[in-house]
């Protein structure tokens, strides 16, 4: 997926740094995003995700280091480059008192694109029914989707999304995931920031985990989790098996017990699960493998807090 060849990369970020006073918002970040890749930048609030994104978009000049966006430096502002990128901002950047359709029409016109794609965009983000509704009357999730539609109206090659799922309820987040998947299927290069690790694990081809201005790890979500070499935890209802019996099962490394459940830790889940199945104790069984949150915990030594 990744290639460091100049022709194949949509974005090349090379050791960028940005300080605000004493605060090192971005402190030596490098990565490459390939064409058509869905690249996630994760981290808690204040990790430097947004600043990194703003430098990539050409909104800010890095103190040092360089960015090549589609082969060009995005800073200072390059009007010829702008039609090739689409940007969704953290705040809802809409014109006052316009309907969803009018917002899209206006943004299309800013790029010299006719209103021909407006209906398609509304359909894409599931707002066809809300075309005539004013932006301030839309729900948070609908507004985020409209904001993404506005970023896509001129059919850009690279799309930057800054925390599109922040402050949304679970249902709205899942709706948005569908939209993001469709955009990816259209072959767009997507760079997106989020502080939801679970979401990044599901959506992204590759993720960079950031904390305090630095990239702590970068790979596919699966590789990151595998690299953690974390054990699988199998939880059983208490009483289905005694702790002593459980400890004797093949592959069971550790056994723990509390009021409700019995927890088995293993690095070889397959024989252990087979043995549990033989004993008919699969009812109510839960298997939990490591997630990006465990990766974060491992990298920073502290619990992840979004």
């Amino acid at each position: 997926m990744t290639s460091t060849g100049a022709g194949a990369a949509a974005i090349v970020v090379d050791d960028i740094r940005k300080s605000y006073g004493d605060l090192k918002a971005v402190d030596g970040v490098s990565f490459t995003v390939g064409h058509g890749e869905f690249f996630g930048i994760l981290g808690p609030n204040g990790a430097g995700k947004t600043t990194a994104l703003e430098i990539m978009e050409g909104l800010r000049e890095p103190d040092s280091g360089s960015v090549r966006l589609l082969g060009e430096s995005p800073f200072p502002r390059k009007p010829a480059l702008l039609p090739r990128i689409g940007v969704q901002l953290q705040a809802s950047a809409f014109f006052d008192r316009l309907t969803a359709r009018e917002q899209l029409e206006t943004f299309s016109a800013l790029y010299g694109v006719g209103a021909g794609r407006v209906d398609e965009m509304l359909e894409l983000v599931g707002l066809t029914e809300k075309a005539g509704t004013r932006e301030d009357k839309l729900s948070g999730g609908q507004r985020q989707r409209l904001s993404i539609a506005c970023a896509l109206a001129h059919d850009p090659d690279v799309v930057f999304l800054d925390e599109p799922t922040a402050a949304l309820d679970p249902q709205a987040r899942r709706n948005l995931w569908d939209v993001l998947r469709v955009i990816r299927e259209r072959g767009k290069t997507i760079v997106y920031t989020t502080h939801y690790l679970d979401e990044a694990e599901i959506l992204c081809d590759r993720v960079a985990i950031m904390d305090q201005g630095r990239v702590l790890a970068m790979d596919t979500p699966t590789a990151l989790v595998r690299g953690l070499d974390a054990p699988t935890r199998i939880t059983l209802e208490r009483g289905t098996l005694t702790a002593a019996d459980a400890a004797g099962l093949p592959g069971a490394d550790e056994v723990g017990e509390d009021e409700q459940s019995l927890v088995l830790t293993t690095r070889t889940p397959a024989p252990l699960l087979a043995a549990l199945a033989e004993r008919g104790t699969l009812d109510g069984l839960q298997v939990r493998t490591a997630t990006l949150e465990d990766v974060f915990l491992q990298l920073t030594g502290r619990e992840y807090r979004a």
């Binding site: 978009e57 050409g58 909104l59 502002r77 009007p79 010829a80 702008l82 039609p83 990128i85 940007v87 901002l89 953290q90 705040a91 809802s92 950047a93 809409f94 014109f95 006052d96 008192r97 316009l98 009018e102 029409e105 206006t106 943004f107 016109a109 800013l110 790029y111 010299g112 006719g114 209103a115 004013r134």
Partner: protein, 348 residues
């Protein structure tokens, strides 16, 4: 559609749907125009009342002067009682060739006016009755004076005030709201030049100002208010446009300085309110003490107001454009320059 047209359309739609702004741009100034227009309509036109007992040439002649409103009495005592009560400044008693004026000394000025009037009318009738041509020829000639009927200064005053308020508020608010909602950032990331964004905003502001001008002069021209535009009213166009731009640039400065809508509202009020009171919007500035008149010269609204009044209702010529246009142009250049220095795309 071009970026310019679609931005202008977007802002125009946003404005038309904003009831508060519409109210303050159109209805609120119109209320002032209507209230003051009606309140001051008959100011300075009160006729002196004069009682009359009996009939004859003198009474008829007094009525013809148009300077007094004659109130007739059937009984002399009733009329004299009114004079004594202070309801009437005087009463003319005509009995054949005898003309007697009863007057109250309490109101010296009116009594003097009434005496002069009655004796003047009586004397001229005497001259005519004598059959000899008068030795001294007397004609009265009206001078075009600088005092105007209230509606004549109210209309340009309220017009320039409402344009000033509208332009300052809308320009300032657009900038602050767009910065806070990151619309400015979004525009910066679109291939559209700042000149396009700015000029589309100017177009919307000018359109609003033209609508205000049409509405207010239209209403003031209704017979009930009686505004009469001079033949040189079209000279108001350059002053008008420069005025809109001057206040637009002040709005830009307000928007460049302020980070929140609340701060922008306060700043816009601080800028526009003193100007409104000291620039002759609601009363002629000539009535103010001289130091206040001097202070008011620093306000662009004063110059816009003076300029508009001169060409719209006083009928002055091109030479009247020089000072207001020069001052407004200077304001535009200086204030816009400062605004571009202070301006920032982002909050931080």
């Amino acid at each position: 559609m071009t970026a310019f047209k679609s931005l202008a359309k977007a802002m125009a739609k946003g404005l038309v749907r904003d009831k508060t702004t519409l109210f303050f741009s159109f209805l609120f100034p119109l209320m002032f125009l209507v209230v003051f227009g009606l309140l001051f309509r008959d100011a300075g036109m009160d006729k002196i009342k004069l009682g009359a007992y009996g009939d004859g040439e003198v009474v008829v002649a007094l009525e013809r002067t148009g300077a007094v409103e004659v109130q007739r009495f059937d009984k002399l005592d009733d009329g004299v009682a009114k004079v004594r009560a202070g309801d009437l400044p005087g009463l003319v008693e005509v009995n054949g060739d005898r003309v007697v004026l009863h007057f109250a000394a309490s109101n010296q000025a009116q009594a003097g006016t009434v005496q002069g009037l009655v004796s003047g009318v009586t004397q001229s009738l005497n001259v005519r009755a004598s059959g000899r041509p008068p030795k001294f020829d007397f004609t009265a000639q009206q001078v075009e004076d600088s005092s105007l009927k209230p509606i004549q200064y109210l209309t340009p005053g309220i017009l320039s005030w409402s344009i000033a308020v509208g332009a300052v508020f809308s320009a300032g608010m657009t900038l602050v709201t767009w910065r806070r909602k990151q619309v400015l950032r979004r525009l910066r990331l679109a291939p559209v030049s700042p000149v396009t964004v700015l000029s589309s905003r100017v177009l919307v502001t000018v359109t609003v100002a033209v609508s205000q001008a049409l509405l207010f002069t239209g209403v003031a021209s209704l017979p009930v208010f009686g505004l009469r535009l001079s033949g040189t009213w079209y000279l108001a166009i350059p002053i008008f446009l420069l005025g809109v731009l001057a206040f637009f640039s002040i709005g830009m400065l307000v928007g460049a300085f302020c980070k929140t809508e609340e701060a922008a509202t306060a700043a816009a009020n601080i800028v526009t309110l003193p100007m409104a009171f000291l620039s002759g919007t609601f009363f002629p500035i000539d009535m103010a003490p001289s130091w206040l008149r001097a202070v008011s010269k620093v306000f662009p609204l004063r110059h816009m107001n003076d300029g508009l009044t001169d060409v719209m209702v006083r009928g002055k010529g091109v030479e009247a454009l020089l000072v207001p246009c020069g001052v407004l142009l200077g304001f535009i250049l200086v204030v816009s320059f400062i605004a571009t220095r202070v301006f920032s795309w982002e909050d931080s």
